[in-house]
Each structure stands twice: as structure tokens, then as C-alpha cells.
């Protein structure tokens, strides 16, 4: 009985910490950018040596969605610079239309665009120390 209580306390504590982490950064925006970039990367499947052969455009097909995923991760783990990262995510998502299979056949591109916009529009609430639950 006591052990069960202890476990549920730990569970509660973990859940609270997760909620705190999730609400102090543009979580859904960053996640959508990562998901969009990943989807574009998955549609991109040319063998790497051939991509290098084709030159800059072949490499850009991989490079731009890869940077898009990195920007999405940065939105999650370094949210202070979210304005820069979110604008970068939007520009990279648009570039994917040209470089990477029409932005992963539009799907990944739209996900990254919406994610970037959500992250751009996210802002911390003004009152410091207020714990809204």
C-alpha cells in the first residue's frame, strides 16, 4: 500500500514536470516542424552517392529537410530563440517544395509551415511566477 502510494506520487511528480516542460516552450510548433521535416526526409530516398553526383541540388534534397528537423529540435530545446528558428523553419519548409519531392508531396511542408507559425505565435504569459493549472 505504501509502495503504491510512493509510486503514484512519483508518477504525479513526473507528470507535473512534463507539463511544466511542455508549457514553457512552443511544444506543438516544434513537434510539427520535426514531424514535417522527418516526413520530407522519408520521401527522399535517392542513394547518397548519386545525390553527391548530381551536385548541389541532389545534396540540398537531403540537407534542407535535415536542417528543418534540427530547427524543430532547437525550438523544443532552445526556445529563447524561437522567433529566429520559427521564421527559419517557414523559409526552409518553402524551400523544400523546390529541393525535396515537392515538400514531401505537400504533407511535410504544410506540417512544418503550420508548426513554424505556431512556434512564431507562441509567447510566454506576462505575469512572472504565475502557475496557471
Amino acid at each position: 500500500m505504501g509502495a503504491a502510494l510512493y509510486r503514484s506520487d512519483r508518477w504525479r511528480w513526473g507528470l507535473d514536470a512534463w507539463h511544466q516542460w511542455r508549457h514553457t516552450r512552443p511544444f506543438w510548433g516544434g513537434l510539427l516542424v520535426v514531424a514535417g521535416g522527418t516526413e520530407i526526409l522519408l520521401t527522399e530516398a535517392v542513394p547518397i552517392p548519386l545525390a553527391v553526383h548530381i551536385g548541389l541540388q541532389g545534396i540540398a534534397g537531403y540537407l534542407i529537410p535535415l536542417v528543418l528537423v534540427l530547427v524543430g529540435l532547437l525550438l523544443l530545446f532552445h526556445p529563447v530563440q524561437r522567433t529566429f528558428y520559427s521564421l527559419l523553419a517557414i523559409i526552409l519548409a518553402l524551400a523544400c517544395w523546390i529541393t525535396s519531392n515537392l515538400g514531401g508531396f505537400l504533407v511535410g511542408m504544410l506540417a512544418a509551415l503550420i508548426g513554424g507559425s505556431l512556434a512564431f505565435a507562441w509567447r510566454p504569459q506576462q505575469q512572472p511566477g504565475r502557475e496557471a493549472k
Binding site: 511544466q20 516542460w21 508549457h23 514553457t24 516552450r25 512552443p26 510548433g29 520521401t43 527522399e44 530516398a45 535517392v46 542513394p47 548519386l50 545525390a51 553526383h53 548530381i54 551536385g55 541540388q57 541532389g58 540540398a60 534534397g61 530545446f77 532552445h78 526556445p79 529563447v80 520559427s86 517557414i90 519548409a93 518553402l94 517544395w97 523546390i98 529541393t99 525535396s100 519531392n101 515537392l102 508531396f105 505537400l106 511542408m109 504544410l110 509551415l113 503550420i114 513554424g116 507559425s117 505556431l118 512564431f120 505565435a121 507562441w122 509567447r123 510566454p124 504569459q125 512572472p128 511566477g129 504565475r130 502557475e131 496557471a132
Partner: protein
């Protein structure tokens, strides 16, 4: 994960709807402009699809600089031990191609995605086009064809060569009518897609 430098690190936040609209609407407008420029044949896009077989058909393909040789494609998904998923394919490389009535269909998770382009007068143009196919059919005519040249010594498409010691052929020009190919990979340096349209459902 704690953000040491951020002043906003402990503050909970949320999405400002007006700010979201202010950035999302211009982005979606930019998407519309990109799609428009692609269909109007102004913007060239780059393609590289692989892993799944798909069908490409065209009424006519005219190419300058043609190479053909055998390749062994290894699927990127051959993760299971004891299973090598290697397929012998022919690589068809064309330095610059004009394609009329291009249609491409691929089955993605039970859904068929069909792309058509080059249907209204202006042909699809592609440079450094490489198609790895296992079936290829159509009526073909070649000029200045060299059959049985070593695949590593092919010169018609700069930068694309086959494995040394294997069979290869090349031609200065190629015209294929009624083209139909079952391909595993298409890559191209640039692709312009006039009258581009993307549909779900239906085969080529």
C-alpha cells in the same frame, strides 16, 4: 533541458491567435505562389523517389545523351538479417529530356498518388534524369548508338557511369513513343512540370 539563459524559461505560454494568423496566412500564400509557378513552368523542382516500385508512362520522350547499364539496387529497408533485398535494374540516364503527357503513379500506404504533367502543349523538361527500372517498354529509336561499351566508360551523361566491366550502351539521341516503365528510383537534377497536377486514386 533547463534553459539557463532564457528569461522566459519558467513562464508558461500559449499561442497568440492573431500572431499565428499574421504569419500563417502569408506562408500559405507563398505555398500557393510556389504551386502556381510550378504549374506555369516557371519554377523547376527536384525529385528523388525510391524504395517502392512505381509506374511512369509518357506519350513521347525525346532525349539528348542517353546511357543504359545494369545496376544492383539495394533497398534501404533491407534491415532484416539473412535477407538481402537486391534487385537487378537497368539504369536509364538521359542528359536532357523533353517528355509529353507524363504520368506517374505510386501506391503509398493503400492510397494511390498520381502526378500528371506536360499534357497541354508544353513538354516536361528534365536534366540529368536517371531512372532505375526493372521493366521498360515502348517504341524506341536511337541515333549514334554504341552497344556493348564498358559501363564505366559511358560518356553521354557526364557524371553518371556504371560499374566497371559490365555491359553498357549509349546513344547521342533517343526517341521513345508509348513509354511505359516500372521503376524503383527516379532522380533528376531539375524537373520543370508544366500543367502539373496531383491526384489521389487512379493509375497511369
Amino acid at each position: 533541458m533547463a534553459d539557463t539563459r532564457g528569461t522566459a524559461s519558467s513562464l508558461r505560454g500559449r499561442v497568440d491567435r492573431r500572431r499565428f494568423a499574421a504569419i500563417a496566412l502569408p506562408s500559405l500564400a507563398a505555398v500557393a505562389v510556389l504551386i502556381l509557378l510550378t504549374t506555369q513552368n516557371v519554377l523547376a523542382v527536384s525529385f528523388s523517389i525510391s524504395g517502392k516500385p512505381f509506374t511512369v508512362t509518357a506519350r513521347e520522350l525525346k532525349g539528348r545523351g542517353f546511357e543504359q547499364f545494369g545496376v544492383l539496387d539495394r533497398s534501404a529497408l533491407s534491415g532484416r538479417p539473412g535477407h538481402t533485398r537486391e534487385t537487378v535494374l537497368t539504369a536509364n540516364a538521359i542528359r536532357s529530356a523533353k517528355i509529353t503527357d507524363l504520368c506517374q503513379s505510386v501506391a503509398l500506404a493503400g492510397l494511390t498518388l498520381r502526378i500528371t504533367a506536360g499534357t497541354g502543349g508544353a513538354p516536361v523538361r528534365a536534366t540529368n534524369l536517371v531512372v532505375d527500372a526493372d521493366r521498360l517498354s515502348g517504341d524506341a529509336s536511337f541515333t549514334n548508338i554504341h552497344i556493348g561499351q564498358d559501363a564505366s566508360r559511358l560518356t553521354q551523361v557526364p557524371g553518371v557511369e556504371g560499374p566497371p566491366g559490365t555491359f553498357g550502351q549509349q546513344a547521342a539521341t533517343v526517341t521513345i513513343t508509348g513509354l511505359r516503365q516500372h521503376a524503383f528510383a527516379v532522380t533528376a537534377g531539375t524537373f520543370t512540370l508544366p500543367n502539373f497536377s496531383l491526384h489521389f486514386g487512379g493509375h497511369c
